[in-house]
Symmetry: C2
Subunit: 597 residues, 2 copies
C-alpha cells in the first residue's frame, strides 16, 4: 500500500494564499477564531491522525472487508479502535455548531479533514462521514426534543447516522419508493419497508445508529410529493437519553461489491420499527434538498482523495522503478536503467494526477468556503454564495469523481503489470473510486441537474454569476505577465456562455437535446472551472516567485503544473464542444428494437 | 452475470460482407476449404460452446479464483471439465497447420473463436490462449525432434504452453533479465531463475505444460542481444513421448490481483530445470518478434470481448430497469416509470459500447485476415499485409484495450449503484478488462512502437500504405450518397499524415517530442482507423438497404451506429490533435524534485 502523507503545504496554500480564509472568517460571525494559525495547527493534527491511524488500516479494510451475522456487522480489524480515538480527539465535532456541542470551526476545515481522512482510508471515513446527513437533518428540521435526544450524540460521534433513501427498485427515481410509516397512538410511527445501499448502515463502532428514513404516510400523494422523513434509531432511546430496547429493524445482509470493502453497504429491513416524523409531512425531499449540496461536495472529495492517494503511490514508484533509458540519453548512467519518471508518457500521467488533484482541491475548498458564507454571511453574500454552490456543486460532484477514477487508473498504469496486483495497493484505489460516479446521483443525473435546473432553469443567471467572477479575475490580472492563462480563460468563459445559449435554444424545441448534450456539457464546464482555479493559482505563484517570497520551488512547480493543465487537459474541451453540439438525433433515432445482439 | 449471446449475425457480416473472406481464402493455398458456409457452421458450433459451457463459469471463476498449494494450482470449479470438452471437440487445433495436426482453418477464424470464448469467459480462454506463443515458437524455430515431442501435443491441446518473459525487476525492459541457462554435457541446459506474471503458468487442466523461457547463456552479451529461448517442460518428456520425472521447476505462488481471478498468474521458480535451446543462441528476442503481432492482436481481442460482454449486460438492463420519464413524455405510460433506454445519456453509453464493439470487430478481424495473407499470400501480398500489420497492430492492441476498459465502465454506469455490486457481474468486466492495457506491452509502449519504430522508423512508408487503402476506398465511394462519411474520413487521413510529419520533424531535434506525443498520437490513429472501418460498413449497409437485401433492420442499425461514431466518438480526435502538438516542454521542464507532496 502506498504510504499516505497529507499534502499540508498545498492545503495551506489553498486555504490561505488562494482563498484568503483568515480574512474572510474574521467577517463571518462565529468563525472569528478560525485564524490561519489555528487552522494550520488543526490541519497538522488531522494529518497525523490520518497518516498514522487510518492509512495503515486501508489495505486491511480492503482485504478483510466487513462480516455480517445475525448479530450485526463486524468492521475490519482496527476500524473500531481508530474510531474511538477519533471520537476521543474530538474530530466528529470539528465543524459542528457550538450550540450542538460542536467546535464551531468552518465547514471548509471539516472538508479539509474529510480530504485527509479520505485519502488515507476512504472506507473508514464513510462511518463518521455518513453522519453528516443525519446531523444536518435533525439540526435543520428536528424539534427541540429530537435535537436533545439525537443531535448531541451524533455531533460528539457517540452515535453515527445514516440516510436511508434507496430501495431495490428505485435509486434515482425516489418518487417510486414504497416504505411506509403508519401513525401510532403515542405520536410515533411504525416504519415498514426495505432500504438498500445504506452505507455504514450497520457496524460495531457505536452503541447506536440514527437512521433518517424516507417513507410514505398512509395518505401521502403519489410520487415525490408524498415522501416524509423519519428518525428511526437502531436502539430505542429512553426519555432520559439512555438506551432502551432494540428497535424492530435490522441489517438483513451486506453487499459484496467492487471496492470500499471496509465500509458496510447494508440492506436494512424495517419491520414496523418505531420512528419519529421529522420536518413537515410530505416535504421530505424538500427538507433534504437544503443540504444535498453538502453531501455532493463530500462525494466530490472522494475524487480528490483518490487523485492524491494514487498520485503519491505512482510518484514514489516512478522515482524508484528502473526501466529503459531516457530518449535523450541515460539519466542514471551508473544504474542498469533510468527511473521511469524520465519518460515523457510517465510524466504525462503523473502531471495529470497532480494537476487534477491540486486543481480539484482549490475547487472543492472554495465550494466548502462558499458554504460557510451561506450559513454565516450577510444576506446578500449568502445569496450569492448559495447561487454559486447551486451551479458548481453538480460540476464538482460529477467532474471530480470522473477524473478521480481516471487519475486512479493512471496510477495503475504507471506501475505497469504490478499495478494490477493487489499487494501494491494501486488497483484498490481504482476499485474504491468507481463508486463515486454512482452514488449521491450519477454523473448523468448531475449533468441534468446542471444544464436543466441550474443553467437553463435559472435563465442563465447562475452561470452569469460565475462568469462575472471569472471576468473580475481576468480584469484584475490583465498584465502581460499573466496573459498566457488569463486570455485563454476569458475566451473559454465566453465560449461556455455561447454553448449554454445554443443548447438552451435547441432544448426549447426538443428537451432531449438537453439530455443529449448534458454530460459533455458538464465535463466541459468542469474543465473551464478548473482552468479558472489554475489561472488564479498561477497568478499567485508568479507573484510569489517575482517577490522571491517563500519556497520558490513550490511556486515554480505550481506554475509548471498550470501550464500543463492549460496545454494538456483543458484542450479536452475541444472534443466535448463538438460532441455536445452534435444533436440528439444520433442518440435518439435508433428504435429500441434495433439495439440487439 | 449477464448472459452471453455470441453476436453471430455481426460476426458473419464482418467475415463475409465486409472482408469478403470466402473469395480471399480461395486464393490462399491451404485455405480453400474455408468457405462462407463452413466458417459459418464452425462459428455456430463455437458460439454454442462459448454460450453454454464457458459463460456459466465466468462468475464462478471470479468468485472462486485459483488456489495454490505445494502440489500445484487448482483452477475454479468446472474449468478443467470445460477444457476437456474443448479439447475433445478439437477447438485447440482449429487454426493450426495441418502438418502439425491442426485443422488448417484461417487465423481469422481462430480469432473469431477467441472472441466468443473471451466474451464468455476471458479467464478461462487464457489457458488455451497462452499456448499460441509456445506453438508459434516451436513451429517457427524448433528442430524436427522438438516439433515431434512438443508441437503435436500443444496443437491438440493435450498440453498447454506459456511464454516466460517477465522477472520482478523487469517487464518492458527485458534486457535486464537475469535467468540463466548453463549448458549440460548431454546438450540440454540447466535453467535457473525466477519468472513472474506467467499467465496460466500452472493449472490442473493438462498433464504437462510447455514453458518457453527467456534466459541468458553464460557467455551472452549484456542487454537484449544476449537473450536465448529455451523449452522447459513442467514434466520431462521421454524419448518415446511419454512423461518422465517432474522437472526441477515449480510454481512458487500465484498473484492476488484485481481481476481475471479465474486465471492463475504464476511466479515460476526454475532450479536448474532441464531445458532445451530453441532457435539460435542470443537471438531469442528476434525469434519472438516474428509473432509478437499475433499475441498483441489476441490482447486487442480482450478489449473487444469486454466491449461486447458489457454491452450485452447493459443493454438488457436498460430495457428492463424503470426510472424517471422520458424528457419528451412517457414512453411506458402504464408503468410506474420508463425503461432507462429512453434517456439520451443512457443511449449515449450504449451506443458508445455498440459502436466500439462493432468497429473493433471489423478492425481486429481485418488484421487477423492480414495475418493469413502474410502466411499464405503471394510474396508481394504477404509483404503488403505484413506492413499493414506492423502499423496497425500497436494501434489495435492499445486503442481497443483502452476503449474496452471505457466500455466496461459504461456498462457499470448504466446499472447505477447496482453496477458496483458483484452479483450483477458488471464490475467484474471492469476488473477483468483493466489488465489488457498493461500486459503484452503497455499502452505507452505500443505508442512508442507506433510512432517511433513504425511510422517514423519506416520514414512514413507504413502509414502511406494504409493511407493508400483509405484513398482507394474514398475514391470508389465518392458518390453523393456516401459523402457524409467519406469526405470526413478523407480529411482525417490527410490530417493524420500531416500530424505525423509535424511530430517527426520536432522529434528530429528532440526525441522526447515523440514520447510526449506518442499516446495521444496512437489514440488519434485509432479513432481514424475505426472511422475507416465504420465508413466501409456504412457503405455496405447503405447499399443493402437500397437493394432491400436481407435484414433491413440490421443494416439501418449499422448505418445509425456509423453516424453515431462519426458524430460522437471520432471528434475526440480534436482534443488529441491539440495535446499531441503541445510539445514536450510541458512534460519535461519540471525537475524531478519538484514532483513532491
Amino acid at each position: 500500500m502506498p504510504d499516505y502523507k497529507a499534502p499540508v503545504r498545498d492545503i495551506n496554500f489553498v486555504i490561505n494564499e488562494l482563498l484568503g480564509s483568515e480574512a474572510l472568517y474574521q467577517t463571518l460571525p462565529g468563525f472569528e477564531e478560525a485564524t490561519a494559525d489555528l487552522m494550520s495547527a488543526i490541519i497538522e493534527e488531522g494529518a497525523k491522525f490520518a497518516e498514522n491511524e487510518l492509512a495503515p488500516l486501508n489495505r486491511i479494510g480492503d482485504e478483510e472487508g466487513c462480516t455480517w451475522s445475525e448479530d450485526g456487522v463486524k468492521t475490519p480489524e482496527g476500524f473500531p479502535a481508530a474510531y474511538q480515538k477519533y471520537v476521543e480527539n474530538g474530530w466528529p465535532a470539528l465543524a459542528a455548531d457550538v450550540e450542538d456541542g460542536g467546535q464551531g470551526m468552518p465547514n471548509m476545515l471539516g472538508i479539509c479533514m474529510t480530504e485527509m481522512v479520505g485519502s488515507a482510508n476512504w472506507s473508514w471515513g464513510m462511518y463518521p462521514g455518513l453522519s453528516h446527513g443525519a446531523v444536518n437533518t435533525v439540526d435543520a428540521h428536528g424539534s427541540a426534543e429530537q435535537k436533545e435526544q439525537y443531535l448531541t450524540k451524533l455531533v460528539a460521534g457517540e452515535w453515527t447516522g445514516t440516510m436511508c433513501l434507496t430501495e431495490s427498485h428505485c435509486g434515482t427515481d425516489l418518487g417510486m419508493l414504497r416504505t411506509k410509516a403508519e401513525p401510532q397512538a403515542d405520536g410515533s410511527y411504525a416504519v415498514t419497508g426495505q432500504k438498500i445501499f445504506i452505507s455504514a448502515g450497520e457496524h460495531d463502532m457505536t452503541d447506536n445508529i440514527v437512521h433518517i428514513v424516507l417513507a410514505r404516510l398512509p395518505d401521502a400523494p403519489a410520487g415525490t410529493a408524498g415522501i416524509s422523513l423519519f428518525i428511526v434509531p437502531k436502539v430505542n432511546v429512553n426519555a432520559d437519553g439512555s438506551l432502551g430496547e432494540r428497535n424492530t429493524m435490522h441489517c438483513a445482509s451486506i453487499e459484496e461489491k467492487m471496492g470500499i470493502h471496509g465500509n458496510a453497504t447494508c440492506v436494512l429491513n424495517f419491520d414496523g420499527a418505531r420512528g419519529f416524523l421529522i420536518g413537515p409531512p410530505n416535504k421530505g425531499l424538500n427538507c433534504m434538498f437544503t443540504f444535498m449540496n453538502t453531501a455532493r461536495i463530500g462525494t466530490a472529495m472522494q475524487g480528490l482523495s483518490h487523485m492524491e492517494q494514487s498520485y503519491q503511490g505512482a510518484l514514489a514508484y516512478a522515482k524508484e522503478r528502473l526501466a529503459m533509458r531516457s530518449l535523450t540519453g541515460p539519466k542514471n548512467p551508473d544504474g542498469p536503467a533510468d527511473p521511469i519518471i524520465v519518460h515523457p508518457d510517465v510524466r504525462r500521467m503523473l502531471l495529470t494526477q497532480k494537476a487534477l488533484a491540486e486543481g480539484s482541491r482549490a475547487f472543492i475548498y472554495f465550494l466548502a468556503q462558499q458554504g460557510d458564507v451561506v450559513s454565516r454571511g450577510s444576506e446578500e453574500d449568502a445569496k450569492a454564495a448559495d447561487d454559486m454552490m447551486a451551479l458548481l456543486t453538480p460540476i464538482a460532484k460529477a467532474f471530480v469523481t470522473e477524473l478521480g477514477f481516471e487519475a486512479a487508473n493512471h496510477g495503475v498504469q504507471v506501475f505497469g503489470g504490478h499495478g494490477f496486483i493487489r499487494e501494491w495497493g494501486m488497483e484498490q484505489i481504482v476499485r474504491d473510486s468507481r463508486i463515486a460516479m454512482l452514488y449521491e446521483g450519477t454523473t448523468g443525473i448531475q449533468a441534468m441537474d446542471l444544464i436543466g435546473r441550474k443553467v437553463l432553469g435559472s435563465g442563465g443567471k447562475l452561470l452569469l454569476g460565475f462568469a462575472g467572477m471569472i471576468d473580475e479575475f481576468c480584469e484584475e490580472n490583465s498584465g502581460a505577465e499573466d496573459a498566457q492563462f488569463v486570455a485563454t480563460l476569458k475566451a473559454y468563459k465566453d465560449e461556455w456562455l455561447g454553448l449554454s445559449m445554443e443548447i438552451g435554444k435547441s432544448a426549447m424545441d426538443n428537451p432531449d437535446e438537453a439530455g443529449a448534450a448534458a454530460v459533455d456539457y458538464l465535463m466541459y464546464s468542469g474543465y473551464v472551472t478548473l482552468a479558472y482555479f489554475w489561472a488564479r493559482m498561477a497568478v499567485i505563484a508568479r507573484k510569489k516567485i517575482a517577490e522571491a517570497d517563500g519556497d520558490t520551488s513550490f511556486y515554480q512547480s505550481k506554475l509548471m503544473t498550470a501550464q500543463f493543465y492549460f496545454e494538456r487537459l483543458l484542450p479536452r474541451t475541444e472534443s466535448l464542444k463538438k460532441t455536445m453540439l452534435s444533436g440528439a438525433e444520433n442518440l435518439m433515432q435508433m428504435p429500441e428494437e434495433m439495439f440487439a445482439v
